[in-house]
């Protein structure tokens, strides 16, 4: 190496180290930022992990038993012993049950009309009524499904008993034996937590980067730095690197908390996950940088960050399934790094997917990351050059 280029690289190293060190110092000294970077992701993962629960169970159900027979008591006990419905008290009549639904004390009411036992015994059609609170359609469907499944089985058993009593063979049964792969208990948390990691990293990296650079511009420190012989590229790398490190730290934290609190498995290769995280952070940091080049001050950067974040999270498939979106909106989600990252994380953590399964998502992340970062760096350099 010539003396000239040796001097260049040693100066570059000093400048890069100085920016990195300064950025870390500022971050550590700012308690609010530290909370945003470390504590908030932790708290949000825990809250989301517990709160975002698509599993419907323990639907509060009131019982109106006007039959008052051994039969009706038996059916009520069996039906409510299932985890899907939860006994929320017994009332005398339908108006009281409706009142409980109105008050939100119950989401379903199970009504046995008089004559249920005798109808069943005398082979007349028997009727069981269910009142449902339809304001949460998903829950109403699950509750009604549980009731009809139960009475379906009851009916089937009655047929079998009668056929056997008449000395005729019972018909062959079709038994469904589901075997669920990857998330055998169909819990929401293992599905949700990897997605949450993606949305939290947007907050931590995009927002903090955009605001950090906008603050330098607002305070005039950017100008003071640009008067030194520091190169814009070193400045940029030195400023982004600490947030890359914090982003990686946050991912590790979330995966640890996820597996400890929510039994999120870790089936895949950490290498695939790490590649995914790095490519993803490349695009979120790039978006942050791009927003900062479009902002004059911190307020604008904050707003810009939100304008990006809201649709990015909503169109990521983390909160709502992408398949439920109209076609044109589904097409847009291909441009959303959060979507690809959530798929990579779920693939690696839940399915043990490798490069061969996830190459497409990783390629999308790489293309988006390089594209956004190149655009942002170009804008940043022309602004300062």
């Amino acid at each position: 190496m010539s003396a000239e280029s040796e001097k260049f690289w040693s100066t570059a190293r000093r400048q890069l180290a100085a920016v990195f060190r300064k950025e870390v110092r500022q971050t550590i000294r700012d308690k609010r930022v530290m909370v945003l970077l470390i504590v908030a992701p932790l708290v949000q993962t825990v809250i989301f992990g517990f709160a975002v629960d698509f599993d419907v169970d323990r639907v509060p159900t009131v019982l109106v038993d006007q039959d008052r027979s051994d039969q009706s008591r038996l059916h009520a006990r069996r039906l409510l012993a299932d985890q899907t419905l939860r006994f929320a008290g017994q009332v005398g009549g339908i108006p009281e049950a409706e009142q409980d639904l109105d008050d939100g004390k119950a989401a379903a009411a199970l009504i046995f009309t008089p004559g249920l036992a005798s109808d069943l015994a005398s082979q007349r059609p028997a009727e069981v009524q269910v009142l449902l609170d339809g304001s949460d359609p998903n829950r109403a469907m699950v509750a009604s499904g549980a009731v009809s499944r139960y009475f379906g089985e009851v009916g089937e058993r009655l047929i079998r008993e009668r056929l056997e009593a008449a000395g005729r063979p019972a018909p062959a049964q079709v038994v469904l034996v589901p075997r669920v792969l990857y998330n055998p208990r169909l819990k929401s948390a293992p599905y949700i937590v990897p997605g949450i990691a993606g949305t939290l990293l947007v907050i931590v990296t995009t927002l903090v980067t955009a605001m950090g650079l906008a603050r330098e511009r607002e305070m005039g420190t950017m100008e003071q730095v640009m008067v030194t012989p520091i190169r814009p590229l070193w400045l940029l790398i030195g400023k982004l690197l600490p947030f890359l490190v914090i982003g990686i730290f946050d991912v590790l934290l979330l995966v640890a908390v996820g597996s400890w609190l929510f039994e999120v498995p870790l089936r895949g290769s950490l290498l695939v996950g790490a590649v995914g995280v790095l490519l993803y952070l490349f695009s979120t940091l790039g978006v942050g940088l791009l927003i900062s080049t479009l902002s004059q001050n911190q307020q604008q950067a904050f707003l810009g960050g939100f304008i990006f974040m809201m649709p990015a999270i909503l169109l990521s498939g983390v909160m709502t399934p992408i398949r439920g979106m109209p076609g044109w909106l589904q097409a847009i989600t291909w441009l959303n790094p959060v979507r690809h990252f959530a798929e990579v994380m779920r693939g690696v953590l839940l399915r043990g997917a490798g490069f061969t399964d996830l190459w497409f998502q990783l390629a999308c992340l790489a293309a988006l990351g390089v594209g956004v970062m190149a655009l942002a760096v170009a804008r940043f350099r022309t602004q300062l050059g």
Partner: protein
């Protein structure tokens, strides 16, 4: 290497346009090694735009500028290595301790290790902040901040420093202390290019350039500017009834300007026609009482007003 021969700054027809607005209009001047060069003008006259071009932050629209031997258009990197700059707005990291700011900017200039620490300590002592080196920068009062900013601009021992309104918003005692530092710097051989709109400060400069609406309209030593621009005799009158008597005198032949000055009057008169005694007599005649008139030395403020007057349409 930094060229130490020849002028520190050479500017030829330097021009900067923003759209149709001409912020700096064909400005030419030279700054010699080791001098304190003052750059004066009203807000918006083009002072900061000129500085931003000279330090490589803003490309000139046309014209040429050589700073510390390097062309600002072709070698802005070399220019940045050779100069120190203190901006108009305080722009160090307020959330970092004093010493961290010095260490960061020192490293930005390529200093490192014990050499950097020693240089930072030396400068802190020189600007009188050695006791505050651990204080958070944002907690310092204005005057101390300015001294810290100066220290940051001097870390790499530049031969030339640009100070853009370094004392704006600072109290008079702190301003005086700051100017002591600037003069000490110049005595050590550093060239200082300073903008200000405190005209009393401009007296410290060896030479002064005056900007009006983007044009450099005057350039000379303070004494030279006064001779050229204020050839009149400047008199200060005190007494009773001057507020009424003054304007009556205003139209008389040989009286060039009459302006209230505190409780008294500030007059500029033709030295051929008037002296202190004759002005006193004229004021008494116009109705004033207990009149005392003294000759005053013209100030840069008189120069500034004369220049702006001329530019507004009057003759010098």
């Amino acid at each position: 290497m930094t060229a130490r021969v020849g002028p520190a700054i050479v500017v030829r027809d330097l021009t900067r346009r923003f759209g149709t607005f001409v912020a700096v209009d064909r400005v030419s001047f030279e700054v010699e090694q080791g001098e304190i060069f003052g750059y004066l003008g009203a807000n918006g006259a083009g002072k900061s735009t000129t500085i931003r071009m000279l330090i490589g932050l803003l490309a000139p629209t046309s014209g040429q500028a050589t700073v510390a031997g390097h062309d600002v258009a072709t070698a802005p990197g070399r220019v940045k290595e050779s100069i120190g700059y203190m901006s108009q707005k305080f722009s160090l990291y307020l959330d970092l301790p004093v010493e961290e700011n010095l260490l960061f900017f020192g490293a930005a200039y390529g200093l490192e290790g014990t050499a950097l620490r020693a240089r930072a300590a030396e400068l802190l002592e020189r600007v009188g902040l050695d006791a505050q080196h651990e204080a958070t920068t944002g907690d310092l009062p204005g005057g101390q901040r300015q001294r810290l900013a100066l220290a940051c601009a001097l870390l790499h021992r530049p031969g030339l420093v640009f100070l853009d309104e370094p004392t704006a918003g600072v109290d008079p005692v702190a301003r005086r202390a700051f100017w002591d530092l600037i003069r000490e710097l110049a005595r050590g051989g550093t060239t200082v290019f300073v903008t200000t709109h405190y005209l009393d400060e401009a007296e410290y400069c060896r030479r002064i350039g005056l900007m009006v609406d983007g044009k450099l309209v005057a350039l000379d030593t303070p004494a030279g500017l006064k001779r050229t621009w204020v050839p009149d005799r400047v008199l200060v009158a005190r007494g009773r009834g001057l507020a009424e008597a003054g304007p009556r005198l205003g139209g008389a032949p040989g009286v060039r300007a009459v302006a209230p000055f505190g409780a008294g009057l500030h007059l500029r008169v033709d030295p051929e026609r008037f002296d202190a005694a004759r002005v006193a007599a004229a004021l008494r005649e116009a109705g004033a009482e207990a009149v005392e008139v003294e000759e005053a030395a013209p100030t840069l403020e008189d120069v500034f007003l004369a220049v702006v007057d001329r530019d507004a349409g009057g003759a010098p």
